[in-house]
């Protein structure tokens, strides 16, 4: 499995994938099959990205708008093609099929004016086929998206309909004239339905009762309802009309069967059009998602992950609403473990997430939120970020952590995935935690696994050849002012302003940052507590608990 649920959740992958929003029902179905490319699918991956690039270059605002308009006309055409295949077509089937063909026809006209990628338009042979099929459904005139049987242009059907309509008119005229005569004779007009409604106690009721040209059809305690008795002419015409209706119905069925037969031979062509439209819809959906986070095309690079100015778009959007701006992340990782060190609240976990997000999005064939991103395509990606207590399994944070790690780090060395770890070992006593963390880091580094590890434990820096990055950290320490009315609420803002989130490569003499007490002070811990903590640290340094190799950097020194 490329991603497990914890990794997907930690990186908020589903929220990003939601932005891939195809317009058509088939496009949406296609999205359901969206999955990451594997390391053996580099060519397909490149092709997907290239197609997106071409679409983005060619989809001007007007093209994009027109494409949306066309997509609104494209239904689940697959369903209707199945009706054709199974010889179950009806008027509605041909309406939908015709609408799809006209949509393609108009789209092709629209994009053919300029050079467009092959998948966006039809070649001359396809255009001829499309035109031929459209003519089957609409014999003449400019192609429209509506459908009616007369458009089939069948002369026999047209003639039969003409006869029928003439008969209908004739009957209507005859009845109208007879009604008029009767109305004049009986001194009363019928209602809008051509019925005479007569109150029982009216004098004229007797006259109505005996008139030979009308008959009683209903009566109540208050009234009687009469209608015209058809004369001989009308009876003849009504029979003829019935006969014409039957003949027309039979002929219509035959017409649909004929069209069905002609279309069935071209179903593979139609299905290819459906697939191409669906693919275009899906590609454009990917492009729109990429545009929403100013995405850049990822590049394949076998032995390195190189990220330049990557961000987390969802978090950035949220922070910007509060007036903060995210510092983009730039780093490189190679086989072996890459460390991330720095003060608390320095953005190390964020950096880890950025790397993870860009990797996963890129592997799904999406553009990534960075200035540049190169990577090798991984068989899988796993993260350990946040608190993952699992009460159901009876696992504490530490237990859950060890459980997951055990599944990842002993995997097939030929099938190295990408592991992103956040402060392994923090959930237990510092001595053993540090030892485990360091041992895992060493193991990953020496086995050339792909890993990035955020840690506070200084021992990890002692591993030979270890690389990594350090958050620059606090340049100055804002002073806690207990009299400030909004101190508690503004501590984030203070911290944000004081913290430099940029990453610098770790130098040999670097040590882990020691700004935790300063940060605790900014967060508002009582002065007494801060003072005691600082005293304890100084004491431990004097007692030699921390060796020269671990160079403490305290901003207060």
């Amino acid at each position: 499995m490329f991603l497990d649920s914890e990794t997907a959740e930690a990186l908020r992958i589903s929220e990003y994938l939601k932005r891939v929003a195809p317009y058509t029902p088939l496009g949406k179905k296609w999205k359901g099959r969206l999955k990451p490319y594997t390391p053996s699918q580099i060519e397909e991956w490149e092709l997907d990205l290239q197609d997106q690039q071409e679409v983005m270059e060619l989809f001007s605002e007007s093209r994009a708008t027109y494409f949306l308009t066309c997509c609104e006309l494209v239904d689940d055409i697959d369903f209707y093609l199945q009706e054709v295949l199974q010889d179950r077509s009806s008027m509605l089937t041909w309406f939908h099929v015709k609408r799809f063909l006209v949509t393609w026809f108009k789209w092709d006209e629209f994009v053919s004016a300029e050079s467009s990628p092959r998948f966006m338009r039809m070649n001359p042979e396809e255009q001829r086929k499309l035109h031929f099929l459209l003519l089957l459904l609409q014999k003449s005139g400019r192609f429209t998206t509506s459908f009616e049987v007369s458009q089939l242009g069948d002369s026999k059907w047209l003639e039969m309909n003409r006869e029928k309509n003439q008969l209908t008119k004739g009957i209507q005229q005859l009845r109208k004239e007879r009604q008029k005569q009767i109305s004049e004779r009986l001194q009363r007009n019928p209602n809008f339905q051509g019925e005479w409604v007569i109150s029982r106690h009216q004098e004229s009721a007797k006259v109505f009762a005996v008139d030979p040209d009308i008959k009683l059809v209903r009566e109540t305690i208050y009234e009687q309802i009469y209608e015209l008795v058809p004369d001989e002419q009308e009876n003849v015409w009504q029979e003829q009309l019935l006969s014409w209706n039957e003949k027309i119905s039979i002929h219509e069925q035959s017409l649909f069967r004929q069209i069905n037969r002609l279309f069935r031979d071209h179903i593979p062509f139609l299905q290819s059009l459906v697939q191409r439209w669906t693919r275009l819809d899906f590609l454009w959906a990917k492009c729109r998602a990429a545009q929403s986070w100013n995405g850049v095309r990822p590049v394949y690079l076998e032995n390195q992950v190189r990220l330049i100015e990557g961000i987390l778009p969802l978090e950035q959007e949220s922070w910007m609403r509060k007036g903060y701006e995210m510092t983009p992340v730039t780093l490189e990782a190679k086989p072996g473990c890459t460390l991330l060190i720095g003060p608390n609240m320095g953005g190390k976990t964020t950096a880890l997430r950025v790397v993870g997000l860009c990797t996963v999005l890129a592997q799904y064939g999406l553009y990534v939120p960075a200035e540049e991103f190169c990577f090798p395509l991984f068989p899988w990606v796993r993260t350990w970020i946040g608190d993952h207590q699992n009460a159901e399994q009876g696992l504490s944070s530490f237990g859950a952590e060890m459980n997951r790690l055990a599944q990842w780090i002993d995997r097939d060395p030929e099938n190295q995935g990408f592991i992103l770890l956040d402060e392994i070992g923090r959930g237990t006593n510092p001595i053993e935690g540090s030892a485990i963390s360091c041992a895992i880091t060493r193991y990953l580094h020496e086995s050339q696994a792909w890993a990035v590890h955020v840690t506070h434990f200084p021992e990890a820096l002692q591993i030979e050849g270890i690389r990594g990055y350090r958050v620059r950290g606090l340049s100055t320490v804002p002073k806690w002012d207990s009299d400030h009315p909004n101190q508690a609420e503004d501590w984030i803002r203070l911290l944000y302003k004081a913290m430099d989130y940029h990453l610098d490569p770790i130098e040999d003499e670097d040590g882990v940052a020691t700004q935790a007490i300063s940060i605790a002070e900014i967060c508002g811990l009582p002065e007494k507590v801060i003072k005691q903590a600082r005293t304890a640290v100084k004491q431990r340094i004097q007692e030699g608990d921390y060796g020269r190799e671990i160079a403490f950097r305290s901003t207060e020194d």
Binding site: M91, S146, V149, K180, R188, N191, F192, Q193, S199, Y222
Partner: protein, 338 residues
């Protein structure tokens, strides 16, 4: 009658006309067919609302009457209803609307014909139907209502409506007349004398508002329902002189207001926001007055009884005052006019 109907057809301010029945099987479709006869030469769109638009009325099991449509008219109905007379229809559009009988299509009649209209179940979809029918060139849209779904007759949605009073409500003429009196009491509610612009702004923002002294306090109807009015202090309610309520005004809410000591006037958007409320002496006003055009009566019930048609007309006319009362089934149709 058909002269007036013709005049309606010429009014540019009357684009959407709804039919509302006081009961099921009141005779809306019969009235629609009569109206259609007068508007046969016009470009008309027609559809039905409600979930009972399938071939058989789910409530009574009866066959639903077909609607007579004329050449050039456009209907919105499910595809299944268009399959019977294939030659009669040009399918124009497939709407993203699902009725109980399937997807809804717009179809233009190629000749005079009849069709069953399946219900468009939601207000949003009904609004979409109106928009699409107008887009297709319909100068008039008729909305065939469903039992007790009066929302489309709101002046916000339609430019005029016809109330259809049918004997299906009750075999008792006095009960029928009493019911119509209740309806008319709602339909003839007055509009506020002042603060119109203020009420209109509340309406646009979809909020309720209470005037206490000089100031207005706004809240949502949802808040009121959730807290049963307790989110506003009893003191404030006693002192309040006016309330704009943007929500369904039910008997329960009215009782909550009264029991809290509120004695001021209540303004609601329009009469369709009233539910189970006796409006007599209730100081209720409507921001948008009703646009009742006519009352159509039907003295016959499909269940087999009939009230005296002449008595029905006389008594209903007395209740509705100047508004025309038509017995479309009994009115003589003057051919020259149509």
């Amino acid at each position: 009658m058909n002269q007036t109907m013709k005049q309606w057809g010429q009014r540019e301010d009357l684009q959407v006309l709804s039919l509302v029945g006081i009961s099921k099987n009141a005779g809306k479709t019969t009235f629609l067919n009569g109206l259609g006869r007068a508007w046969s030469a016009d470009s008309v769109g027609v559809f039905s609302i409600g979930v009972d638009g399938e071939a058989q009325d789910v409530w009574s099991g009866r066959s639903k009457p077909e609607v007579r449509v004329y050449k050039g008219w456009i209907v919105a109905t499910s595809g299944i209803c268009l399959q019977n007379e294939v030659d009669a229809w040009e399918i124009i559009e497939a709407l993203p609307i699902d009725s109980v009988a399937g997807r809804v299509y717009l179809a233009r009649a190629n000749r005079d014909t009849s069709v069953k209209l399946t219900g468009v179940p939601t207000r949003q979809w009904a609004s979409l139907c109106i928009e699409q029918l107008k887009k297709c060139g319909c100068a008039k849209v008729i909305v065939d209502g469903a039992y007790n779904r009066k929302v489309m007759a709101s002046p916000v949605w339609s430019d005029g409506f016809v109330l259809v009073v049918g004997a299906s409500f009750s075999p008792s003429l006095p009960l029928l007349v009493k019911e119509v009196k209740g309806w008319m009491a709602k339909l003839l509610l007055p509009s506020p004398a002042g603060d119109i612009e203020l009420y209109q702004s509340f309406y646009r923002r979809e909020v309720c508002a209470l005037q206490i002294g000089e100031k207005w306090v706004s809240f949502s109807s949802h808040e009121w329902i959730q807290s049963q009015g307790s989110h506003i202090s009893a003191e404030d309610l006693k002192q309040a002189t006016k309330l704009y309520f943007h929500g369904a005004l039910t008997k329960r809410i009215l009782e909550q207001l009264r029991s809290s000591g509120f004695t001021g006037e209540i303004t609601i958007p329009d009469w369709t926001y009233l539910f189970d409320v006796l409006v007599k002496e209730s100081r209720i006003q409507v921001l948008f007055p009703s646009n009742l055009l006519a009352v159509s009566i039907n003295s016959t019930s499909p269940d087999g009884w009939q009230v005296n048609p002449e008595e029905l007309r006389t008594q209903i006319q007395q209740v509705v005052g100047d508004i025309p009362v038509w017995d479309i089934y009994r009115e003589e149709w003057i051919s020259d006019v149509s």
